[in-house]
């Protein structure tokens, strides 16, 4: 699933979601990758494990680690700001790429 396209208004919220399929879920390394990617965008970006929230700051590794999301959890993203659409698309892509870790964890 990819970020939804929508016509431009600055305050419009962009949304996207993806399932965690890497072996140990949103653990240390993926959390760092996710927050670093989020920080590279200007937009306010939030992440949640349910479509209704609660929403947490996608740029905070401390808050993301507190969620302790295991494998199989769906992550929902919401972003608002100039580069919101690109941010959501990039984050969804990162999760779908298993944070580029599949090989290291020995999954074929």
């Amino acid at each position: 699933m990819t970020a939804q396209k929508a016509s431009a208004s600055l305050e419009e919220i962009r949304r996207g979601s993806a399932e965690l399929t890497n072996a140990v879920g949103l653990h240390a390394r993926p959390s760092v990758k996710l927050t670093q990617l989020a920080k590279s965008y200007q937009s306010m970006i939030s992440v949640a494990t349910e479509p209704q929230g609660p929403w947490i700051d996608a740029k905070s590794p401390v808050k993301i680690m507190r969620v302790k999301a295991p494998k199989g959890t769906t992550l929902y993203f919401e972003a608002s700001g100039d580069d919101a659409a690109a941010a959501v698309a990039a984050l969804v892509d990162l999760v779908e790429r298993r944070f580029d870790e599949a090989e290291e964890e020995g999954h074929g």
């Binding site: 240390a28 959390s31 020995g106 999954h107 074929g108």
Partner: protein, 537 residues
Amino acid sequence: MAEIRLSGRPASSGFAEGQLYVLPDKRVSRAPTGDPDLEAKALRNAIILASEALADLATTADGDAADMLGFQVAMLEDDALSEMAFAAIAEGKPADIAWRHSMDQEIEAYRSADDEYFRARSADLEDIRDNVLDMLSGGTSAAPPPPGAILIARDLQPSRFLGIDWSKGGAILLSEGSPTSHVAMLARARGVPMIVGLGELPRSADGIALIDGGSGQAILSPERQSLDQFIARRAEDDTLSARAEKLLLKDAMTKTGEAVTILINVADPLELDVISPDLCDGIGLVRTEFLFSEDGSFPDEEAQYRVYRRLVEWASGRPVTIRTLDAGGDKPIKNLTIDGESNPFLGVRGIRLSLIRPDLFRIQLRALSRAALHGPIKIMAPMVTIPSELATVRRMMAEEFKGLKAQGIAAALPPIGIMVEVPAAALAMDLFDADFFSIGSNDLTQYVTAAGRDIGSVADLADPRHPAVLRLIAMIATQGKKMQREVSLCGDAGGDPALIPLLLHAGIRCLSMAPSMVARAKLIISETSLSGDVVTP
């Protein structure tokens, strides 16, 4: 000082010989200023200094170590980590107390996580906490240990590990700790032998120590004879390791061309993150006791399902044999096993316990049935003594499977086999309608010899090389062939280089062992010639 022999959980293999060194616990002594603004400034500075020091370390690290340090830096740089401490400082608390208190709460949340992976991260948070406390009290207080020393500590923080010079060798002995911690991972990557869970260790130590990380054995202040034995074993090990490593990913085959199936034993799924499934033909034993935490809480169906599913996904189509809860005997579990039995090894343990706690057992069966949809799971019941126990397991499994279907939950009905460890089951195997059999050589040996391995004065009698044990194993292998049922062996003997040839001669063709034993086992198998007949002493 007299020789002291210690035994713990292997966390990183390898041999080491060196001077003992007790790592002092770092203590913070810092006089508070009494001014909230100054206290806040002190904490802010300490956090910056700690994260700069970590970033410095990161430039010399690579791979997992660099990732781990990157994680700590990211956490430290996140204001969310310190906001509670700054709030407490504003209310008048000294910086170190505010920081320690807020970090302790954060750490506690990790310690109580359901997921073992997240629980293990509590050590990283402790590391972060202590690094900042060090900076608050004016930098690292403890002098670095001498290079090549054998370190003794309660636990060891990853950043402290990285700050130590390992180029001259050395090893780590921890009274607590876990093989799945970051520091254990770092030690394995760096080739530093490490043993954890050793219990009480000397607080002051001089003299030398000998460490065999792979077997979890340490000898403090060794006598001459122990030292000679150690040196000989280490030399032999070096040569063998080099040859064995070449066979790691190859199929196991005897010198005379018989194929041998190699399975691995899994005590903790985290072990699998760092090994390739290509080294084995499947998982022969998953010890599900790890699911039950020390605080006495039981894992729910969903948590178990996730773990089992992860195991079959790792195995990528290879069979995964999961043993139902084997509590009791030497594996007590809080709120579950029966306290005060006069002889726990002859008491309510294994399947006997599961059958009197069907509420818990059915949860495990449901989770297994759901996970079996994702790959070839086999269910193995421990301590089965009479056929009706197996029949009851089958009936309960069928009921749970039907129940899941009725609820519209996808599930599969896995094959069900038994451990052969009670002599009664071994001698009357033909009466058991099992889909497969797996010899639990540890218990079978102690029940046949009537000698407990954990009782020092009779431990020598509990020898799987006793002809009675080997003859019984040969009987089981022969009987399995007659019944056309797979027979494997999953006790410690299965990975023991000294025993593997005897087991092969007894007719065993499927061995399950710790992943670290696989390379050596394949080497021993490749050097064994079989005559085609079952041979026992």
